[in-house]
Amino acid sequence: MTTSRYKRLPGRGLTWGGPSRVWLGDDHVLLVLTRGYSETYRRFFFNDIQGVVVRRTHIGKIWNAVWASFLAFFGVLALVVNSGPGSIILACIAAPFGVALFVNMALGPTCAFHIRTAVQTERLPAVSRVRAANKFIARIEPLIIAAQGELPGDQLVADLIARQVAQRGPSVNAPPVIGS
């Protein structure tokens, strides 16, 4: 078995198809998508990762609203109903929604995490919280830098601009170059 070479990375997500996790390999990040009775794998090699994009989403707030509304509904109902056993039953129904709300708030804001390589930009459903995303980046960034080398900030911007200008070609508004 080759299981020992992977270490767990922060993040655990749930997609419509099933759960998703990310693992740290020797030279790559492994995305595991469980689909019932099989697993599919995507590998992102440190040498190929061009960038990561974390975007805050509103999913966490939506779930907060859902859990809070259920909690409020059953909570208020438990207070309004005068009978002792009825109130207790309604409070017991409200309690799991309160726990879900607390857990969702404790996990923090949600996000969409994407890894970009030369041929794809892939979302990692396993990294769905900002806190997990920050931990994930902190864990893999040194490994990517070790594989690719460090890029000084100034060179980063200069290279990008030079490349973008080269791709677009000379601007039509630019004055003609004499002698070319």
Partner: protein
């Protein structure tokens, strides 16, 4: 793909000033809150694929798959001479396409595997589902032994690439044994008490 990173909300290019910032910033196009990390690979020119050189001298070794191209390196698995076009470098090894395909099919090259069957999930489902669905409980007389067989067969098969314990197999066997025990007790009582009802 060009050397730019796109906002994952609106797909517009993210300004380079946003790269490697320590805090989230609003996308200038859609106002989505984004954090971008860029790495040197973003600015690397795309690698050119190699083409095999044509044989110019009669004494030159030829590629096994392309007889008119010069041999570049021997395959480290089968020893066949291969040209630069056929040479696939994997974890520092030079392999030919046939060995890559063979290794992938046999599961010897785990790096190339993109899917695996989870036998533990199958065994556990076969054991538990007939009982969990309640109205299909009588199928458990067949599914329980089947779950044990599946667990025993699947135990040796390659499981998940990522770390994953064997507890689902154990749970499937234990659950199936309990159900089979229940069936045994039920049948025993049915047989021994059958005379009392007559």
């Amino acid at each position: 793909m060009s050397a730019q990173i796109l906002c994952t909300e609106c797909s517009s290019p993210v300004p380079s000033a946003y790269f490697n910032a320590q805090v989230f910033a609003a996308c200038p196009s859609c106002n989505a809150s984004i954090l971008v990390r860029a790495f040197p690979a973003l600015f690397r020119p795309p690698q050119q694929g190699q083409v095999g050189e044509r044989i110019t001298d009669a004494g030159q070794a030829a590629c096994f798959y392309h007889p008119n191209k010069t041999a570049h390196v021997p395959c480290e698995a089968c020893g066949r001479f291969i040209c630069a076009l056929c040479d696939v470098e994997l974890h520092g090894q030079h392999l030919c396409p046939a060995c890559i395909e063979s290794g992938r099919r046999k599961g010897a090259l785990t790096t190339l595997e993109s899917r695996r069957v989870l036998w533990d999930n199958i065994a556990l489902s076969v054991a538990v589902l007939p009982i969990a669905t309640v109205f299909l409980w009588f199928f458990s007389i067949v599914t329980s032994p089947a779950a044990i067989v599946l667990a025993i067969v699947g135990w040796r098969k390659p499981g998940s690439i990522a770390p994953r314990g064997k507890w689902r197999f154990v749970l499937a066997i234990v659950f199936a044994l309990i159900v089979m025990g229940g069936w045994g007790v039920g049948i025993y009582f049915l047989v021994t008490r059958a005379g009392e009802f007559e």
